[in-house]
Subunit: 213 residues, 2 copies
């Protein structure tokens, strides 16, 4: 079995949000899809280790904010590499309450859902949601997972369905890793030559937070 | 609710195949995703009206052939706009048996699965499959659903999760529809001026099979 075969599947980049006892929380996800159009129904796959998984169960509702290529990439790291258990992920992130759920302002569209079924796998829960609201928020090309990897040079969180361990440990030397989000800098410019005000493209951490690996 | 919000979700383009009592069959799908990596597990969503749905239930196995941007687009129409009930969809289509399942030769990768669970919705079945084999077959950019719509100008089958009725009935006049696959020609060149050897980009039918609507 060649794990690289899985890389050929296409995904978007989403922030799946819900409520945690009145506090907004959520996580980054790439596995979300429309399942049927009448009645409109979508699914998301969320790791059982993610705090968001428990919160969706308790709340019974979730929303999908669909990121655009122009969306600020640091939001992906903020929602993907930290836990809502001990972080207020929405702190400082512009959002609005739409259809009674927290939706990022910086996304091209959102879909709000009521959980109607779920399927458990070894690591992830597939939540099936009947759509209670959906709107386009701004024009723009939706961000694909390929764009996130190839253009933004983003990494995959360890709780993602598509995570492979090797991704966190590249073979080349002189790599630098962000101590906050584990993003590995692989740009053409030597890390030492990057300007001092350069920041992690994923989580926004300053250059000083990077460590040689 | 704005149905256009759903268009912002990203998908690939796949042919999901299985066996029908020893005969290969399958259908086009856009909703397939990896759900977990250990053990590798993927899902596909298949309309209950599709003959392939019943065949996957009976066979207990399915494979996903992941199309590339360079894959012959007529295969999408062939597998998406005809039924395996009365058509031998694989007739004339190059394929190989890999991991005991029929796989298109003209794809960038495949994933073969054993069904381990399923979830029913009003119109579709979500099949969960444990991966029994996966290989990259050739280099190339995987085809996204956006590429299929925007570059190939493909249409959505009525059994697709993302089908909306309006798509089949454009408001403009002087449109021509393929009587085989229902593809509506919307190119800049007037239909009458297309060369006589022009064929439907979706199912490969000749120009003579198009009807004015």
């Amino acid at each position: 079995m060649d794990p690289k075969a899985f890389y050929a599947m296409s995904y978007g980049v989403y922030v799946v949000s819900t409520w945690d006892n009145g506090r907004p929380t959520g996580c980054t996800a790439n596995c979300a899809a429309q399942i049927t159009s009448a009645p409109a129904t979508v699914m998301v796959s969320i790791n059982k280790d993610n705090y968001t998984n428990r919160c969706i169960r308790d709340c019974g509702h979730f929303a999908i904010s669909i990121l655009a290529e122009t969306s600020e990439p640091s939001v992906i790291g903020r929602f993907g590499f930290r836990s809502g258990r001990d972080t207020d992920k929405f702190d400082g992130v512009p959002y609005s309450i739409r259809d009674k759920l927290p939706i990022l302002d910086d996304c091209c569209a959102y879909i709000a859902c009521k959980v109607i079924d779920k399927m458990e796998t070894s690591t992830h829960t597939v939540f099936l949601g009947e759509v209670i609201g959906a709107e386009t928020l701004k024009k723009g090309t939706p961000m694909t997972y390929a764009y996130y990897h190839n253009v933004i040079k983003g990494k995959t969180g360890k709780n993602s369905p598509t995570y492979v361990a090797e991704e966190q440990a590249p073979a080349a030397t002189e790599k630098y890793v962000c101590s906050v989000c584990k993003y590995v800098y692989v740009g053409d410019v030597p890390f030492e030559n990057l300007p001092e005000d350069w920041t992690c493209p994923i989580c926004g951490a300053p250059k000083s937070k990077f460590e040689k690996i």
